[in-house]
Each structure stands twice: as C-alpha cells, then as structure tokens.
C-alpha cells in the first residue's frame, strides 16, 4: 500500500519538474529575441538539472552514511572553502587576475581544491575521530570558521570595486554558466551517478548501520570510503560550476524523507533530485523574472531552506 502511493508520488514530482521547466522556458517569451532567449534558457535548465541532481544525490547518501538528517557536505565547511578560494584569487591577483577571469582555470582550480579539502576532512579525519560523525562535523565547522575569518580579513583589505567582482563569484548563479564547463561537469556527474545509482540495495542496507551491514555481508568500510569520494567529487563539481548553495541539500533531502517516509533509496534519492530541480527552477524564475536579478538565487534558497530547517527542528522536538 505505501509502495503504491510512493510510486504515484514519484510520478507527480516528475510531472512537477517537467511542468516547472516548461513554465520557465515559456514565461514571457519575446518573439524578437526568441533565438537568444531559448538557447540561453535551455542552458540554464541543463545547469540546474545537473547541479540539482548532484547536490540532492550526494546529500541523501551522505546523510545515510552519517545517519543524521541535518548534516550535509556544504555545512561541513565546504562552502567557506569555496569563498576562501575565490577571495584569495582576488586578494593576491586583483580583479584582473588571470585565474579569476579565465573561467576554465578558475573552475578546475576550485574543483581540485574543494575535492581535496572534502577528502581531507572525510578520509584523514575519519581515522582520528573513529567514525564519530559529530566530531567530524565540528572539525569541519571549525575549519570553516577559520577559512571564513581568513576570507573576511582579506575582503576587508580589497577595494570596493574588487569586492563587487568577488561578490559575483561568491553566490551561486545559473545565469553565466560556461558551456564547455557545463559539459565537463555534466560528464563528471553522470559518471559518478552511474556508480551510485546501480546499487540502491546496498544503500538501503547501509542505512541500518555498520553492524547490521557487516553482518549482512556488505564490505561496509570500503563502501563508505568509495561513496565519500563520490560525494566529494559530486559536490565539488557542482559548487565549482555555479557556486555554493548551502541549504539546498538540507532542504531537498528532508523534504524527500518527509514526503516518501521510507528508507528505500530508490524513492528518496530520485525524489530528492526531482524536488531539487523544482526548487531551483522556481528559484530561478523568482530571481530572473520577479527580482530582475536583484537577489542571488542561493540567497533565496538559503532563506527558504533555513526557515524550513527551523520549522523542522521545532516540530521534531515537539514529538
């Protein structure tokens, strides 16, 4: 019985995603610049789908591994590191810095450093903390605070003009995505997804915890390190492409768990991905058509995600 409704729910969400994309594509089309509008909108939709799915999948899996619904890779310091990387580039090279202006170089440097940082936190520190997720998280947050303060310190010393340039890079935006990088990110993310999505069954087993997983014959520790590497790459690629959206993962994974109310990753992973796409598309519609670009998409999503988080905490604690 619950299976039936979950299947239906997936179909409804898929329809919702298609519908929202259609709304975005067709909203306020102007025949005169039709041939400019359509390709640019298609590009943004593709970017949204790629990033949305990458963030949703990585967050749901990450939360299965750490057995906690409020931890996400972004919260573990990743976003501050991104800000730090961007700030350092401006600080040391100025707004005309070759790296900053060359989107390709910027992307690959950011991606490499982000992956390195995430893997460092995950792998190296896992050994010290002995699988204690909370310790790991605190360490991530401390490193995040450290990088945050370093960034602010540098930001105070750069000129307001430089800061405006930097500000553009600090907030996620789907408006100015480079086509070639979009392709590269798309390929990376599809490869990673292929590894994850073939085997929902072992993810389900992992949600029972390490003891049960080992008991059921799963090579748990190896599986966890593989998945963590995949998560690190997924999140880094998405962040390097568009910028950080801190609360997106939190929002979509919790909504998915709430809607589907099952442990089955087939539903939660796909559901979260669809919700992620819908959220981003509506965010983009709001930014592009209602705020006329005056507000960054990530800020809107952080706002919505953040308020949802507080609601979640208050409601859960009442139970």
């Amino acid at each position: 019985m619950p299976k039936m409704t979950n299947d239906k729910l997936l179909i409804v969400l898929a329809a919702g995603a298609v519908l929202s994309i259609a709304i975005y594509m067709l909203y306020d089309l102007n025949p005169e610049i039709f041939f400019y509008q359509i390709p640019s909108r298609i590009k943004r939709v593709i970017a949204i789908v790629i990033v949305g799915v990458a963030i949703a999948v990585s967050t749901v899996i990450f939360q299965t591994i750490v057995k906690n619904r409020i931890l996400t890779p972004s919260i573990m310091g990743l976003d501050s590191v991104y800000v730090f990387i961007q700030t350092s580039m401006i600080f040391f090279g100025g707004a005309s810095s070759a790296i900053l202006l060359n989107t390709h170089a910027n992307y690959f440097i950011s991606m490499a450093l982000l992956t390195f940082f995430t893997l460092f936190v995950f792998k190296f520190l896992f050994r010290f903390t002995g699988n204690n997720v909370f310790l790991l998280l605190l360490i991530g947050i401390i490193l995040g605070t450290l990088f945050g303060n370093l960034s602010t310190f540098m930001q105070m010393m750069i000129s307001p003009e430089d800061f405006l340039v930097l500000q553009n890079n600090l907030f996620a935006s789907f408006s100015a995505v480079n086509e070639q990088l979009l392709t590269v990110t798309g390929i990376i993310i599809v490869i990673m997804l292929f590894f994850v999505l073939r085997d929902f069954g072992s993810l389900d087993v992992m949600s029972l915890g390490r003891d049960h997983s080992v008991n059921l014959g799963l090579n748990y520790d190896k599986k966890v390190s593989q998945l963590l590497i995949i998560i690190a790459i997924l999140v880094s690629a998405a962040t390097a492409l568009v910028g950080p959206i801190m609360f997106l993962g939190l929002l979509v994974s919790n909504l998915a768990h709430e809607l589907f109310s099952t442990y089955k990753h087939f539903y939660t992973v796909i559901g979260a991905s669809l919700i992620s796409i819908i959220t981003l598309i509506f965010g983009q519609i709001a930014v592009q058509f209602f705020f006329d670009g005056g507000v960054e998409l990530s800020v809107i999503i952080n706002l919505v995600g953040g308020i949802y988080f507080i609601y979640l905490m208050l409601r859960r604690s009442r139970v």
Partner: protein, 277 residues
C-alpha cells in the same frame, strides 16, 4: 565448531582482550558471562568481524574467518548487537527482509518471501508485520531483530545482550525461542548475557571472561559453582538448586539488619532515605 585462537585487542594503551582462546560447540547455546568491562562484547565483535583484531585467528569449521568473502560469511554467521535503535521509517516485514540480503541482494525472490513468512510466524509477529519498528515495544522490536537473523539462515547466531531492557516475561520468551532454534533448526547460538541465572537455566555451555581473559569455560554445571563465580564477580554468591536448576543468590545483606523482614523497620529505613534525598 568455532575455534578462537589467541585473539587480542587494545584500544590505545588499554588491552581490552588479551590472548583469548576458546571453542564454541556446534548445536548448543553458549553463554558469555563476566563483569562489566571484561571484554565480552569485544570478543564477540571480533569473532563476527565487526571489529578488527590485533592478533589471533578465528576458525569456523576449520576455515579461517578472515579469508572468506564477506558475502559467503554472511550466510554462515550472523550477529545481533545490543542497542539497536534505528531512527528509520521501516516496517517489521521490511526489516526482516533485510536478513535475506546476502542471498537476494535486495531483489526478493519467492523463496525469500517464504523464509520471511516463516520467521514472522515463528516469532509470532504476524499482527505487527506492517507496523513501523519505532511503534513497537522493546520486546516486540527485539523479536523482530531476531526474526531478521533467523531469515539470514546461518548456522551460527551471535547475540550481544539480547535481554537488555526486557522485562522478565519477554526475557523468558526470547530464551525459549533460542532453545527452540537450537532444538528444531539445529542452530548454534552464542549470547552475551548479564543475568547469570538466565545463563545457568538456558545454556549448555558457559564461558566466563574477566579482565579481557577467559576465566573459565565449560558446561554450565562446571562453571556455575560458588568458588568460581565468587572469584569472577568478587562478591558473595550462594548457589541453590531449585527445580533442578542451579540458581545463584547474590543479594548480600551487608548491614545484617534484615530490613526486608520487618515492615516497621522497613518503613523507618524508607523514611530515612527520603530525608537523605
């Protein structure tokens, strides 16, 4: 037959398990007893490969445990650890179905469902099978977990303190089920247990650990002896034979005031406690 040879484990400086060797007889219930911190859970975890050991070997019917593929092993031995609190939206039946994972890899075949139905009946969980596990009482939940290990269909079943947080009725129920599993399905069961009287009444063999080493091991009549138990637990223990069972009486009456005999004195003592608190 499982043979454990010279298994050792240290956490940091502290040696928790020190050169433990023991053997577990097939088709029997073996209880592991001992004071807190004796290393019982650690030994069980190493034998079932939940925990890496520093040294030693575990042989299961002559084969080295750690060279076997994980999935094959999961059809041979199963382990249920204590404190299974899952914050997971999962029904009883879905949980039990996980026990088939080593065989089905998540895609249940008809014979898997037969196993599951049988275990549900066996554990009398029929009326709960579609309930979420966090809605069950402690005893029902424990039965669901045991059902999960039953469908895993292994020769050896390890249970780490299966009676934790259960009341007397449910504890007895669980122990009777374990006896039935040994009798009817010829399973070999190893349990870590704190209540020595449960160990004495329901098991065939007993292994007593102390300070990370095996203190004694043998049939229950060899182990449940005043001199042995007193040395292990460092307290006075008297053993009485009641209805053919060796029962340990360990309520020591140090003050010798025998307050529980005299209601008046009891009431006074109670009042004194109240004032003190």
């Amino acid at each position: 037959m499982i043979n454990v040879r010279g298994v050792t484990k240290s956490f940091g400086e502290k040696k928790v398990v020190d050169d433990v060797s023991l053997s577990i007889e097939k088709g029997k219930i073996t209880s592991m007893i001992g004071p807190n911190g004796a290393g019982k859970s650690t030994v069980i975890s190493m034998v079932t490969r939940l925990l890496d050991k520093d040294n030693g070997d575990v042989l299961i019917e002559g084969d080295n445990l750690f060279t076997k593929p994980n999935n094959e092993l999961a059809k041979k031995i199963s382990i249920l650890k204590q404190s299974n609190h899952l914050e997971l939206k999962i029904t009883v039946r879905e949980l039990i179905a996980f026990g088939r994972y080593p065989y089905s890899k998540g895609r249940l075949k008809p014979e898997d469902n037969e196993f599951i139905d049988e275990a549900i009946n066996y554990m009398e969980l029929g009326e709960f099978e579609d309930r979420y596990i966090d809605e069950l009482s402690g005893g029902q939940r424990q039965r669901a977990y045991i059902a999960m290990t039953i469908v895993q269909d292994t020769d050896y079943i390890f249970l780490d303190e299966p009676l934790n947080n259960l009341d007397m009725k449910h504890s007895v129920q669980i122990m009777q089920i374990l006896r039935r599993l040994v009798r009817e399905k010829n399973k070999t069961i190893i349990i870590v247990i704190h209540d020595i009287n449960f160990a004495s009444c329901y098991s065939d063999n007993i292994i007593a650990l102390k300070d990370g080493e095996v203190a004694v091991s043998g049939t229950k009549n060899e182990v449940i002896k005043k001199s042995i138990l007193e040395e292990i637990y460092e307290m006075e223990i008297n053993i009485q034979c009641i209805f053919g069972h060796q029962i340990c009486v360990y309520f020591d009456d140090q003050n010798g005031d025998g307050i529980d005999d005299d209601p008046q004195e009891y009431a006074q003592a109670f009042a004194r406690e109240q004032v003190r608190a």
